[in-house]
């Protein structure tokens, strides 16, 4: 049996640095209606947005913590100790040169400008509450693609923004979507015109720098008929002793025949509560695909969903979770079939190391009188140490005779024979373990864009080091 040892923390530390705060706008500690007016004033929100925020605040206050099914660890969040808005200004810069020095240095250390030059079609970088940098390659912009922050989106493109904002994820969906709706700031607004296929990915990078802070970005992506988009987001934060809250809402709308692929590599530091609501609406022949990779945070609760509203719509969630000591990755997927011939696919792989806990929570709904809907769900969990934990809680509802659903889950550990075989061939035990774990997630990692999959493999290798004996 594997001996107990904590995994190395090397790669987690890449984001573990902070510069002194120089915020000019600070909403202070705690959440009241005053906080919301403060945010609305700074952002010069139109009246309907201010109204929307205030209503959401009421919803948030009235909803209980979902601890009757979710982790009791949520009770560790003290909403009165959190700062809900911090920024050095509301307008994102178009040039890295214009970004304040310390912020620029932050993103340079994280390699963002370099990646932009190499393989991205556009980048947005958010520092605490607001985007500090937002740029899109000229050629892409000329195709009519809009890629701006949520504030600019609702200011400059209200006709598209308002039509879909809060429609995929209503304010009252859950306590944290209500919280986000009350205090949202930052995030991306993307519109891809009909028929435009954006070749290279757009990327957003979310950075928390301040202590006791809550980041509440709001992303809305609309792909018009027949268009295609890949969006990637990454996130890091320095490690503080106090709890940090990240609670995003991401809404995707894929109109007829559109394809959206949304990739997340979440590597928050281990004091972050990452409570995110993500959902896509797929119209006729459209496809929404979530690729979700959770490595960091203290507690992540995130169940990307797809509502398949039009015929032949397709939803997919590919999820990888890595839970180390002190971490609980509570992830999963929601697939709501609402039209004939819709298909969905969920593949989830989790690895629990040390005292880590990985949970899969899923929901599949095929209501009555639909024909030829299909869902396939596969959940595989790998346990590395005897103190590791994994759970699976799917809920599947099917009505009628025209549909088929299958769900499978398995739990296993790295086989002693495999390790022995590789050691025979001269690998150290740690190398063998890492190879074996990489093999476990390999078929999923391969679906990531090249740059991410290489990174991810390296990350897993490092995580595995020292976790075996």
């Amino acid at each position: 049996m594997a001996k107990e040892a904590s995994p190395l923390e090397i790669e987690r530390n890449i984001g573990n640095f902070a510069y002194p705060e120089t915020h000019t706008h600070d909403a202070g500690v705690g959440l009241t209606e005053k906080t919301i007016h403060f945010i609305s004033d700074i952002k010069e929100d139109p009246d309907w947005v201010r109204e929307f925020r205030l209503n959401a605040y009421k919803t948030f206050m009235s909803k209980p913590m979902p601890t009757h099914w979710a982790s009791k660890d949520l009770e560790a969040i003290v909403f009165d100790n959190i700062r809900y808005y911090l920024s050095g200004g509301v307008q994102a810069k178009r040039n890295w040169e214009d970004v304040p020095d310390d912020v620029k240095r932050t993103f340079e250390r994280l390699g963002i400008p370099e990646q932009e030059r190499k393989f991205l079609a556009g980048v947005e970088a958010q520092f605490d509450s607001e985007a500090v940098y937002s740029n899109i390659k000229k050629a892409v912009g000329e195709q009519g693609v809009i890629f701006v922050g949520s504030r600019e989106g609702l200011k400059d493109h209200p006709e598209i923004f308002r039509k879909w904002f809060g429609k995929v994820i209503p304010t009252g969906d859950n306590k944290f979507s209500a919280l986000n709706s009350a205090v949202f700031s930052g995030g991306s607004f993307i519109y891809v015109p009909p028929g435009v296929k954006v070749k290279h990915p757009l990327q957003a990078y979310f950075r928390i720098n301040a202590e006791n802070f809550g980041q509440f970005e709001r992303t809305l992506i609309i792909c018009d008929e027949g268009s295609e988009l890949t969006y990637m987001e990454g996130c890091t934060a320095p490690k503080f002793n106090t709890a940090t809250l990240h609670s995003a809402v991401v809404e995707l709308v894929a109109l007829k025949g559109a394809k959206i692929q949304y990739i997340t590599v979440q590597n928050w530091s281990s004091n972050v509560f990452n409570l995110v609501t993500k959902r896509g609406l797929a119209h006729e022949d459209a496809e929404v695909k979530w690729i979700d990779c959770n490595i960091g945070s203290r507690l992540t609760m995130k169940y990307p969903g797809v509502i398949m509203k039009g015929r032949r719509a397709r939803g997919e969630v590919l999820s990888i979770a890595l839970a180390g000591d002190g971490q609980h990755q509570d992830t999963g997927a929601k697939m709501v079939h609402a039209a004939d011939e819709t298909t969905s696919n969920i593949i989830s792989k989790s690895i629990s190391i040390g005292e880590g806990r990985a949970t899969y929570r899923g929901l599949v709904q095929i209501p009555k009188h639909l024909k030829n809907c299909k869902n396939n769900t596969e959940c595989d969990a790998l346990l590395i140490n005897s103190t590791s934990r994994t759970d699976t809680y799917p809920a599947i509802t099917v009505r009628g005779t025209g549909n088929s659903v299958q769900h499978e889950a398995s739990v296993s550990q790295v086989s002693a024979e495999q390790i022995f075989y590789m050691q025979q061939r001269g690998l150290t035990e740690a190398q063998a373990m890492s190879l074996s774990v990489n093999g476990f997630v390999n078929d999923l990692v391969r679906q990531f864009p090249m740059e991410y999959s290489v990174e991810l493999k390296r990350l897993i290798e490092l995580e595995m080091e020292g976790s075996v004996g």
């Binding site: 969990a381 346990l383 599947i396 088929s404 499978e408 739990v411």
Partner: protein
């Protein structure tokens, strides 16, 4: 029926029947069992207090998700009135089950109608088969150690408390060390009066290396009378012992039924249960199997045939508390008309229960456009070196299979029935007991025939 003229091996005390038509929610538990000892009374009082204190279930609670909790209204149910001789005779006449049994108890509205005793040989070997109220007096040490020793953790704590307050009869089985009871022990519970309620209880202890098979039948004397059943079973399988447990639930389609079974399986012991769910308007079956010693094994099987507006709700827990334990669950549901089925199952591997093998499979066959299947197969693994998997599928009859049968001249209705039987048999036939599987097949056929 066999043993028509069997004389009871011991004199039976006539227990006074409860006052007729007394509503159960009035809490009239003393009158149900007037001659029982004070400690049992106290237990009943505690049960009633607990029932009153605990809230009614809410669909938002995970253990009741998807369940029609509004069905759980007990205000109209009463304690059945004493049965007349003619009524008793009729029910006895209709209590047909297995041809050959080791012993048999028949109850209607919680009144013992008849008891076919064990053979002298089994009695001499120390096997006990008694009405529960006798065991309370005569085997109070065993009774107190095992009676509802496992708290109801799958959602029905409130109804387990109600059962504790009202249990007035049932079956006590004890099989001593090393004794094998070859023929099955058979128990009938009938609902008879209008709005009658029953609280059946079976307490079974199989001591070390013992072997026993028990089959319970739940039936209604009238197809048009509403009724309520709230049963609890404690099945204790000692070291190296082997238990087969079969329940055929065939209440009428107006009945409201809650059944809470808990099985504990000790070292090297094995338990196999088969629940056949056919009756009831709303029927919930909670099955807990706790594997407490190394080498323990539990097989949990269930089939369900649901039609009209029937609702079945099955919740299971495979609780691995010890290393080197095995559990295997297979639930198969065939759903017609507007029927609903919910399966909520959990495999829980406790810390240090390494080398666990646990499997859980639920298969739903949807036979109509309004049938609904909800599946929540769950895993909680707190140990490593385990092999665990679960699978849930929902689908319909294969077109190719139907076409094949139709092309052989078999009418569509018959072909459908054949395929459904075939689908269910996978679970039924895992019980290695010819007479019982034949009986279960008959009951399923009868349900088809009613359509």
């Amino acid at each position: 029926m066999t043993n028509q003229t069997a004389v009871l091996d011991e004199t039976m005390e006539e227990t006074e029947s409860p006052p007729a038509s007394r509503a159960i929610l009035s809490g009239a538990f003393e009158a149900r069992s007037p001659d029982l000892p004070a400690w049992f009374r106290e237990q009943q009082h505690a049960g009633w207090k607990k029932f009153e204190a605990l809230p009614y279930p809410n669909r938002k609670d995970q253990p009741w998700r998807f369940s029609s909790v509004n069905a759980l209204n007990f205000s109209s149910y009463n304690f059945g009135a004493p049965l007349s001789q003619a009524e008793r005779d009729e029910i006895l006449e209709r209590s047909t089950g297995l041809d050959e049994v080791a012993g048999r108890l028949i109850f209607a509205d919680d009144q013992l109608l008849r008891r076919d005793p064990l053979s002298q040989k089994l009695l001499a070997a120390g096997v006990i088969l008694k009405p529960l109220e006798r065991a309370i007096l005569e085997h109070d040490d065993l009774f107190r150690r095992h009676f509802m020793a496992q708290p109801a953790t799958l959602g029905s704590a409130k109804f387990a408390a109600l059962h504790e307050a009202f249990v007035a009869s049932g079956t006590f089985v004890y099989v001593p060390k090393g004794v094998e009871v070859e023929l099955p022990i058979e128990i009938f519970h009938w609902l008879h009066g209008e709005n009658a309620s029953v609280f059946p209880h079976t307490l079974l202890i199989a001591d070390e290396l013992a072997k026993v098979t028990v089959i319970e039948h739940f039936r209604s004397a009238h197809s048009d009378r509403a009724g309520f059943a709230c049963g609890v079973n404690d099945l204790v399988v000692g070291k190296g012992a082997k238990l087969n447990y079969v329940c055929t639930q065939n209440w009428n389609e107006k009945a409201l039924a809650i059944q809470i079974n808990s099985t504990s399986v000790e070292r090297d012991a094995s338990a196999l249960s088969l629940n056949v769910n056919l009756g009831g308007a709303y029927s919930r079956f909670e099955s807990l199997s706790r594997l407490t010693g190394e080498g323990a094994r539990s097989d949990m099987l269930a089939v369900c045939v649901a039609d009209n507006a029937q609702e079945f709700d099955a919740r299971t827990l495979q609780d691995h508390a010890s290393p080197h334990t095995t559990s295997d669950l297979l639930y198969k549901n065939a759903l017609n008309d507007r029927a609903r089925n919910t399966f909520g199952g959990l495999i829980r591997v406790e810390p240090h229960a390494h080398f666990t093998d646990a499997y859980q499979t639920v298969r739903n066959l949807l036979l109509s456009d309004d049938a609904e299947a909800n599946s929540m197969p769950g895993l909680e693994i707190l140990a490593d070196n385990v092999k665990c998997s679960h699978g849930a599928t929902s689908g319909q009859l294969g077109e190719d299979e139907m076409f094949y049968l139709l092309s052989r001249g078999i009418p569509a209705a018959v072909a459908k029935q054949l395929l459904v039987s075939g689908f269910l048999n996978e679970a039924v036939d895992r019980l290695d007991h010819q007479a019982i599987t034949a009986l279960v097949h008959d009951l399923i056929e009868q349900k088809f025939a009613r359509r």
